[in-house]
């Protein structure tokens, strides 16, 4: 029956999951769709072959020379990496069944690249919001030049092509305020007079400029609410106009000349008067500076965008170079431009395939190799390896958003602060503690990123979108910005900016109505207004943000859904997508927060869909996280990502360097609604252990925990590590074997003989077993490779190789300190020269392994306690699997863990899973307020459930001592808790040594676990020994076990360096059968030319080394040897 149920199971819906990584894929899709013409190549299982998943990248290049006909030629730009499940990927659109047949995960979501067999993701980065002027003050602005103040308005302008597409390349423009009241425009390292820019942009007169600059000041409304201009603007305008007179540029052409040719790169989205007025009001304190660290003023940089930008630059470089080459060729003789062959020959010097390579390198190393910087803050760290340690970790790579590497080095902590603006977009719980705390954030469950595609998957036409928005606005009574009429500014009139461009203005009283109307259009399906339009209405205020109506349609903004409750619900759809910019000025109520101190004057217009929407996927999996102390939830988010779990379903077809795998995972009894939603059951990560909370033997002190030996015997938390390769050991072997100092990049157990032999200039090498040396036959099969399933002990041979004409194959020995099983041997069918050997390390729980519940309660196993000695319940006979100490609770306040124990106990008695979605009580309360039913507390509900099954209301039970059989004096809290096995295991960490390798120079033990080194017995340890007076032990540690050395000292000259052995040339007489008598060793001093007065002294070898070093500096060290 059970078998049938499985097959009949409804097809699992992975769409929720897939949505989580959509921003990665969509951005890549866009890049592919619009930037490139990429040809598909055959796609192989790249992960196993350790190669990259790429496709050929070709493009038509047109040449035109002196009006000659255009010459078209197709060039191959090399192999271009393909993102999995993107439009180019052959997995695109494959359903789970097809994915499985393609040897992929059924829940494969894609979004990453495969490069040399390693999966890498591009990290999402935070960038300043595009096309939005931000006022800020920085001390460094003063240093630009004389007269600069620390105040400026900064805008990151994104480039637009023909108003329809933006390729997300951008440039940051700053408008500085000068001490004399003027302003300067700066980008890159150019500083321009604001006037000349202004004039260069549009044909305008001085009078218009003056009016534009002063229009925000009406002469009297200085202190009223929302006024942003003071009477100083007039004077400033005069200064600005005067300044130009000195430069003697008057017409637009003059200005253009003055500025040079650079400007047209930049000027998109740049509207001077709001820009300058914002600066002036900022300087005067009538508007507050914008916080660049707040999510309100931030966008996101997606993988597709960075690749597009990078690719564009590389292509430009290539074209420039090509042009130069052709020009050179043309200047020479016998070059026929119309002949394709000639052109090809010339361009061969400029290899086009380097472009594909450059992109691959970007993804491989995460480093941007660029001269211009592409307006990005950092050079490195753009990609990271997507580890498949467990599913949650893997998923988190796609939900992570990094603030930028430049901020990691900053000593200030303000960038790391959790700001209220990020509510609902970035998870407040899911950030690592320690070094990247607050910089590496994770998007919340429902946070999405706007893309180039609309909901139907078609590319958005931004030009049309803007046009329709404009027409809607005009129909609402917007005064268009063109033709220009002199108008007033705030507080009377608010200007409307669409993607950073001033498009018109509204009387300030009407804006609210307009906003409400726009929101209604946004939500309704039929309107032309896109549902992800950001309607950022900054209202009038006293000295707060600069007012205006800011509309954004651009891609790569954060968005999230909320319920719009101001729209009558009969319209059906009332889920609105909002962005972080508009959110700040919206009234959104949350079921858990009451009315949030909201007064009646500002009723809530929107409502959170569910309070858990503020949490990331991982944070959402913590049961009843609202009952825990908040740092514990943070710890859980980290530990969930270090859990040994059911890592992969397609395990068999993988050759990852290291994979942790849990043998018998279970699904949690107590789970949140998120658990089912994202199908975490496909990759379960723990065990429902029966946990007793008591101080039993003392072995559970200080976060240690006792495991029941029988439970472990029966398979609890069993697991293994799959490993392909043990890193650099192999390179060493090869170096030693072939005696060649070439650098070998053989990092894994992937043995590629072709690569090797080509490096070593040897003939073809093959795997081969020696027929002579039969001792290796027990571990090496006739093909020269190990037997599958074979256990290999350290320093046993497991494969052997030989060159074709060589008769004696060389065996290769296993490094490492523990026996392993050969799990899989994969041979590349192409030539049989490339082989993957996958090992399996058994990792069953032992003392020292780390475990954790889902509530940040981690502990180390201190004993595997015999089952019979464990306390048992008199009624059920149940013995706990695990004992933890009650002291783990009072200070940590992880109440949810207690609740989980209660609920799981009740749930297992009921045979039902228990829903532990946080905040569900408050949601229910909200819903039931109208229904007026009684709402009991959670504990009461769980307690009664236990009671109805004949168990104690509080979850405690009477236990009997397993050793004495007597009743324990107090009742014990016992119940099932979902426990995770963390990947930190003693077997990978323990370090012991008595003797072993020593350093050649100092003769002291070396360090490093891998090399069999010791742990340093340092100064503080020495101090402790001294304090205890443990002289003998100290001597043992620091001398006997270290660099104990017996030196010969010449007592005449006191030197230890000038003594040496004299090889006795005495004839050794052999007595029949007896070993030759040991000749007394003779030591002489070279300095004194005598062997008299030689003494032996025990000393640390390092002392002799010191003497030698001193001698090298011409300093003699003498020892006075006395009795």
């Amino acid at each position: 029956m059970a078998a049938r149920r499985w097959s009949e199971r409804a097809p699992v819906d992975y769409s929720e999951l897939q949505e989580l990584v959509e921003h990665h894929i969509e951005s890549y899709n866009f890049m592919v769709k619009n930037g490139l013409d990429v040809m598909m190549d055959n796609i192989k299982p790249c992960r196993q072959a350790k190669i990259s998943y790429t496709g050929r990248f070709e493009a038509d290049v047109c040449f035109q020379y002196d009006g000659n006909p255009i010459v078209r030629q197709r060039f191959n730009f090399g192999q271009f990496p393909i993102m999995l499940k993107s439009k180019l990927c052959h997995l695109r659109g494959a359903d789970p069944k097809k994915l499985v047949s393609l040897k992929e995960e059924a829940a494969e979501m894609g979004g990453y690249f495969i490069l040399n067999g390693i999966e890498r993701v591009v990290r999402c980065l935070i960038l300043p919001k595009q096309n939005y002027p931000m006022s800020m003050s920085r001390g460094s602005f003063c240093n630009r030049d004389d007269g600069y103040t620390d105040k400026a308005v900064v805008i990151r302008c994104a480039r637009e092509y023909t108003s329809a597409f933006t390729d997300q390349s951008s440039i940051t423009v700053k408008l500085y305020y000068l001490r004399n009241g003027s302003a300067r425009l700066g980008f890159w390292s150019l500083f321009l007079c604001s006037y000349s820019c202004h004039k260069a942009l549009v044909e305008t007169t001085d009078r218009e400029i003056y009016q534009n600059l002063t229009c925000y000041y009406d002469g009297k409304s200085d202190k009223t609410k929302g006024a942003v201009a003071t009477q100083l603007v007039g004077e400033r305008a005069k200064i600005i106009l005067d300044e130009v007179r000195d430069l003697s540029v008057f017409t637009r052409d003059d200005c253009l000349q003055h500025i040079g040719k650079h400007f047209h790169h930049v000027m998109d989205g740049l509207e001077n008067e709001t820009f300058i007025n914002k600066l002036f009001s900022f300087v005067d304190g009538t508007s507050a500076p914008d916080n660049p660290d707040s999510l309100q003023n931030q966008d996101i940089l997606l993988p597709g965008h960075i690749i597009t930008i990078y690719l564009k630059e590389k292509l430009e470089d290539w074209l420039r170079k090509a042009k130069k080459l052709i020009q050179e060729a043309v200047s020479k003789e016998n070059f026929d431009f119309t002949s394709l062959l000639d052109i090809k020959k010339v361009l061969d010097k400029n290899s086009p395939s380097q472009i594909g390579l450059a992109v691959e390198n970007l993804l491989k190393t995460g480093r941007l190799v660029t001269q211009t910087g592409l307006d990005l803050q950092q050079r490195a760290g753009y990609t990271v390896q997507a580890e498949r340690l467990n599913y949650l970790r893997f998923l988190s790579f796609f939900r992570a958003v990094h603030r930028g590497a430049t901020f990691a080095g900053l000593r200030t902590t303000s960038v790391r602060k959790l700001l209220p603006e990020s509510w609902g977009f970035l998870c407040p719980v899911h950030t690592p503690d320690g070094e990247p705390c607050g910089l590496l954030n994770h998007m919340t469950r429902y946070c999405r990123v706007t893309s180039f595609f609309d909901s139907q998957g078609a590319v958005k036409d931004f030009f049309n979108i803007r046009k329709s928005i404009l027409s809607v606005l005009t129909s609402l009574g917007m005064l268009s910005a063109l033709p220009k009429v002199v108008q007033a500014g705030p507080p009377k009139i608010l200007s409307v900016l669409l993607d950073g461009r001033v498009v018109g203005s509204f009387p300030s009283g009407e804006v609210e109505k307009v906003v409400a109307h726009l929101r209604r259009l946004k939500v309704s399906r039929t309107s032309v207004i896109p549902d992800d339009l950001e309607v950022g209405y900054v209202p009038l205020s006293m000295g707060s943000a600069f007012p205006g109506l800011y509309l954004f349609t651009s891609p790569s903004r954060f968005i999230r859904p909320v319920r719009n409750i101001s729209i009558p619900s009969e319209e059906g759809q009332n889920i609105e997508l909002i962005g972080p910019f508009e959110q700040v000025f919206m009234e959104i109520s949350c079921p858990d927060g009451g009315n949030g101190g909201r007064r009646d004057a500002f009723p809530a217009t929107h409502e959170e869909i569910h309070p858990t929407n503020m949490l990331s996927v991982v944070a959402n999996l913590t049961p009843w996280s609202d009952h825990n102390q908040s740092p514990r939830n943070m710890y859980q988010c980290q530990m969930a990502k270090q859990t040994m779990a059911f890592s992969l379903q397609a395990l068999r077809f993988r050759a990852d360097q290291k994979l942790y795998h849990l043998q018998t995972p279970q699904t949690p009894i107590v789970r949140t609604s998120t658990y089912m939603k994202y199908n975490i059951d496909e990759y379960p990560a723990g065990t429902n252990a029966i946990v007793a909370v008591l101080a039993y033997t003392g072995y559970d002190m200080e976060d240690a925990m006792i495991l029941n030996k029988s439970s472990v015997d029966r398979g609890m938390c069993h697991g293994q590590i799959y490993q392909v390769g043990t890193s650099e050991n192999y390179a060493c072997i090869y170096l030693a074997l072939h005696g060649i100092g070439a650098f070998m990049q053989l990092h894994t157990e992937t043995i590629d003989l072709a690569e090797e032999s080509s490096k070593n200039n040897e003939s073809r090498r093959v795997f081969k077993r020696s027929n002579v040396n039969t001792s290796v036959h027990s571990t090496i099969d006739s093909d020269g490779l190990p037997y599958v399933g074979q256990m290999i002990h350290p320093s046993e041979p497991y494969y052997s190789t030989a060159s074709v004409n060589d008769i004696s194959p060389k065996p290769h020995y296993r490094k490492g300190s523990e026996p392993v099983y050969v799990d899989q041997v994969g041979v590349d069918m192409k030539n049989g020269q490339k082989v993957n050997i996958r090992f399996r390390h058994p990792r069953n729980p032992i003392i020292g392994d780390k475990f954790s519940s889902r509530h940040g309660q981690k502990g180390v196993c201190s004993q595997l306690w015999p089952d019979i000695d464990m306390p048992f319940s008199g009624v059920t006979g149940m013995r706990p699997d695990l004992i933890i100490n009650p002291h783990a609770f009072p200070s940590r306040m992880t109440i949810a863990m207690l609740l989980e124990s209660l609920a799981a106990k009740g749930g297992s008695l009921n045979g039902k899973f228990v829903d532990a979605t946080p905040f569900s009580i408050s949601v229910r309360k909200n819903n039931e307020e109208s229904a007026n039913s009684e709402s009991e507390s959670l504990v009461d509900e769980l307690g009664n459930m236990l009671r109805s099954h004949g168990f104690n209301y509080h979850g405690v039970e009477v236990l009997y001592s397993g050793v004495y059989g007597t009743e324990l004096t107090c009742e014990i809290f016992i119940g099932p808790v979902y426990y995770q096995r963390l990947r930190h295991m003693v077997s990978d960490k323990f370090q012991v040594r008595s003797t072993g390798t020593i350093d050649q120079v100092t003769r002291q033990p070396i360090k490093g676990r891998k090399r069999g080194g010791g742990i340093r017995f340092g100064e503080m340890e020495r101090d402790a020994m001294l304090a205890h007076g443990a002289a003998y032990l100290l001597h043992d540690r620091l001398h006997t076990c270290s660099d104990y050395h017996i030196a010969d000292v010449c007592s005449l000259c006191g030197s230890i360096l000038s003594t040496s052995f004299l090889q006795p040339k005495i004839f050794v007489r052999e007595f029949g059968g007896l070993p030759p008598a040991r000749t007394a060793k003779k030591v002489t001093c070279h300095a004194c030319q005598t062997s008299k007065g030689m003494e032996t002294v025990a000393m640390p070898y390092i002392f002799r080394y010191l003497a030698a070093e001193l001698a090298a500096m011409n300093i003699k060290m003498t020892l006075k040897v006395g009795d």
Partner: protein
């Protein structure tokens, strides 16, 4: 010293015996004996279990250790185990554990040829000794088809194969849980419940009802005829003190008095099927005796007579 004897004569009264479970009373002894019996039943009664697996072919999805571990956990009928030898001290086979006195060989060979998933179960294990076979569960609850019974070891899809040889050996649960014949052994002190009828009369019916309901297990009830609180099932009491707390909260402490009888125990034994539950008890007593004999006969005991004093004498007598 002489003359004082602490010797007692424990009695066992069997209440219920089935193949796989049993309930009995143990009287006239103390917790140490009861617990010793429990511990021996769990950890020291020998059984047979697969201990050595030689895998010839394994193309299933589970790795070799996993399958070996699963095989080990399959209970084997072990009536003969008491008379068998531990392979470590078997004289007949140099301790390599491959003779009839200490080991039983199993073979398993399964290959899936059809399109349907093949369940390899404990039924596919072929034993060289008909007295040591995987435990058969007679009640087919949950499975409708008779051939589907048995413990699933691994599931094979088309083309996958599992072929192995396994050797079962005698062992005890102390070494590994797979040799434990007992699924659960537990005992509780027999409770003695006294109801103070005089005080109980002072309670109203509702109060009585709430008192009765305060116990999560059904220990008390109200006689529908006399409306008196009566003990219906004293042994359902779990020593949770809920009733006592309730009585105290009602302001009537002492209305009900519950005591544990220090010398009588109610045992529940559940067997894994390796040995019948009744046999398990007998074997446990045998093992316990052997252990005591070992103590009594060892040279140390005689030497340590002074130390043990009358305990040593006691043991030699009994």
């Amino acid at each position: 010293m002489e003359g004082v004897s602490y010797q007692r004569f424990p009695k066992i009264k069997i209440r219920e015996v089935k193949d796989e479970c049993m309930k009995f009373e143990l009287r006239n002894t103390d917790a140490s004996i009861a617990n010793a019996l429990r511990r021996v039943m769990i950890a020291e009664v020998p059984t047979m279990a697969i201990d050595l697996v030689e895998i010839e072919v394994n193309s299933s999805v589970l790795n070799d250790e996993f399958i070996a571990h699963r095989l080990g956990l399959i209970p084997l009928t072990s009536e003969r185990a008491m008379s068998m030898r531990f392979s470590r001290d078997c004289d007949a086979c140099d301790g390599d554990g491959q003779c009839e006195y200490c080991s039983v060989e199993f073979r398993l060979s399964a290959k899936c040829l059809g399109d349907q998933t093949l369940d390899v179960t404990s039924k596919d294990l072929y034993s060289s000794d008909h007295s040591v076979v995987p435990v058969d569960f007679p009640d087919s609850t949950g499975y409708d088809s008779p051939e589907q019974r048995g413990i699933v070891i691994v599931k094979l899809r088309r083309g996958q194969e599992l072929r192995l040889r396994a050797i079962a050996r005698k062992g005890i649960g102390k070494d590994h849980a797979k040799w434990s014949p007992a699924a659960t052994v537990t005992f509780m002190y027999e409770p003695e419940i006294h109801i103070n009828e005089d005080m109980m009369e002072t309670l109203s019916l509702e109060e009585k009802q709430s008192l009765v309901d305060s116990s999560p297990t059904k220990v008390f009830d109200i006689d529908p005829n006399t409306q008196k609180v009566v003990v219906v099932d004293a042994e359902a009491y779990t020593y949770d003190d809920e009733v006592l707390k309730k009585a105290e909260a009602m302001g009537k402490p002492g209305i009900i008095d519950i005591r544990a009888k220090e010398d009588s125990f109610i045992f529940t034994v559940e067997s894994t099927g390796a040995i019948k539950a009744s046999q398990l008890l007998l074997n446990a007593i045998d093992v316990l005796k052997q252990k005591l004999d070992a103590v009594r006969l060892s040279d140390d005991t005689v030497d340590a007579d002074d130390q043990f004093g009358e305990l040593g004498a006691h043991m030699r007598v009994g």
